[in-house]
Assembly symmetry: C2
């Protein structure tokens, strides 16, 4: 047994860490519409307008390896993971603050590349880098982004709006980032290396430069097609669990319906990994998982029409029990645990 307070923070798990932090903070005022525990916070700083706020850091040796990703990729991804959180709330990303902790070995060319990566994605999504901070790091390179967006009150996509019977959909494909990272760990010589197989190359690019679903999140909020939404930063299982628990529902996922790219599936299988399990537990697919009630199925058609390039796949539903299960080969299995960044 460990003395209370003497256990290591790293050992208690991310969710309990966040709960622990949350408990020690003073109660939030009513102007905080969505507080700690969702993809991003929503606040009404002034009556009538709402801000969505999030922060997410990429830490060298934890979230990236400079042998596998260029500085440009790292900058791109640092902004991407934050945009994904704002999109998962139905918000539009607007202002970024860029906080850099630079080890002594970083050259000005590295820094330029990093900023170019941020700027490239910022331009596409319409985000302004409003400010930031640079500091020396005696350890890893850290790229910490804080992102502020806007959302209309009726368009907020929380995790807790799902109801039993709502259908679960996922955007794009799942498991690709893990396959891409697996290839990099096994093969890569440098941060520009790509496999010759185009499908697998796509997986590597997905790991290096995930494209957040900014437009889809915004459409889901605007049309009010989705009852709940979250992103897949910690894997599909964590996302399903997140929506189900917050909504007070159970969930059933049909394994055979999970959209896994052929190249990812082939690579994972040939390396003794179960593609279904990887898609459930592997993090870093910055796709969206969302629930759609029967009465808004027509609105989902509108979303599909307005975002024809995004694949949207039905993978299961919310249920009226408290079970979290995967149906596979006709049998029910418990939903796997998610990916733990911590």
């Amino acid at each position: 047994l460990t003395t209370p307070g003497k256990e290591l923070a790293a050992d208690i798990g991310e969710r309990r860490l966040i709960e622990r932090i949350h408990e020690r903070l003073p109660p939030a005022p009513a102007s905080l519409v969505v507080g700690i525990g969702d993809d991003a916070a929503v606040a009404a700083l002034e009556p009538g307008t709402l801000q969505v706020l999030t922060t997410d850091a990429l830490v060298e040796g934890v979230h990236f390896d400079r042998r596998f990703s260029s500085c440009r990729d790292i900058g791109f991804k640092a902004l991407a993971v934050n945009i994904s959180d704002i999109a998962a709330m139905g918000g539009a990303s607007r202002l970024a603050l860029l906080s850099l902790m630079l080890p002594d070995g970083i050259t000005t060319a590295d820094l330029d590349a990093l900023v170019d990566g941020v700027a490239e994605l910022a331009k596409v999504v319409g985000v302004t880098v409003a400010g930031g901070n640079v500091s020396r790091s005696p350890g890893p390179l850290v790229v910490d982004v804080a992102l502020v967006g806007t959302v209309k009150r009726r368009r907020i996509l929380r995790r807790n709006g799902g109801k039993p019977g709502d259908v679960l959909y996922v955007s794009g494909s799942v498991g690709s980032a893990t396959a891409g990272l697996g290839w990099l760990r096994a093969q890569a010589r440098d941060a520009e290396a790509l496999p010759s197989d185009p499908g697998l190359a796509e997986c590597v690019v997905r790991h290096r430069r995930p494209e957040p679903r900014a437009r889809l999140g915004s459409l889901l909020g605007r049309t009010r097609a989705a009852s709940a939404c979250t992103d897949l930063s910690d894997g599909l299982a964590a996302a399903v669990r997140g929506i189900a628990l917050a909504s007070g529902a159970g969930a059933r996922v049909i394994a055979a319906e999970i959209p896994i790219q052929d190249a990812a599936s082939t690579w994972l299988t040939s390396h003794d990994m179960d593609p279904m399990l990887v898609s459930m537990t592997g993090g870093e697919d910055y796709e969206l998982l969302f629930s759609v009630p029967k009465r808004t199925a027509g609105r989902l058609k509108t979303v599909r029409r307005q975002a024809p390039a995004v694949q949207i796949t039905r993978i299961g539903m919310l249920t009226d029990d408290s079970c979290l299960v995967v149906e596979r080969n006709g049998r029910l299995e418990p939903l796997p645990e998610g990916f733990h960044h911590f």
Copy 2:
């Protein structure tokens, strides 16, 4: 000669680093009222309301030493340095995002203490911790805060509003944090240690838990007493230079007028340091430096009346040449260089 791009980012200095980043970013839209280069950014996310945004990180081994500061102090200070930036813009701090990078050795008691320090100051100033992120760190403990506040357009205190003839004022006292850190480096056994001399103890507390001038900044903005304002995070010389350069003016500081606490002065002198030079170049006094035109001198009286506990000292003026000078013992010397975090 170094090959272009191959020089180390740490070698080119913080100002050039920030300029370099700024140059690579796309031009900011008109909704960004104040962009990169001031104490904080100001943006109009929606018509009619303005947000002030800033981010500042405390990195172990760069900004703090866990032998000298408790985790509670570190949490307090991480929020304080951000509040200081918002205050220097005339804004009111409202929402914080707390991004923590935790080394493996951090215990849950350390984390609790850190959050308690944040919460303590948040409560006093009326800041809500809206969200954040926890991540593992393979190196230092990092506490990165992003802070969002509000400000009315006519109340924004920029650095560039000064005019020749405006009087320069500084709040509180200068050089105390450096004296406090000096004592800690020479004497401290643990993170709770304090000198027996009460004045010097105040200096140590100033290093560990600086109290940002939230109310003064807000009053200076509201009364429109100040033409320009900045905080003293990088020392008095850097602050004077910041306002003078941005305002296109020169500045003359009267050395004998700089408010230095007796205990700080005594300790510094007895350790062969020049208190005036330390007050100029030592960072981490989170006081405000501001300029006041003759026509708003009456408003400054209102500010003094409304914040009677804050000492406000006239230390010099902005001039119509481009010289940055200190008048000392009847002679003019060039303004020293400021403190470099980087």
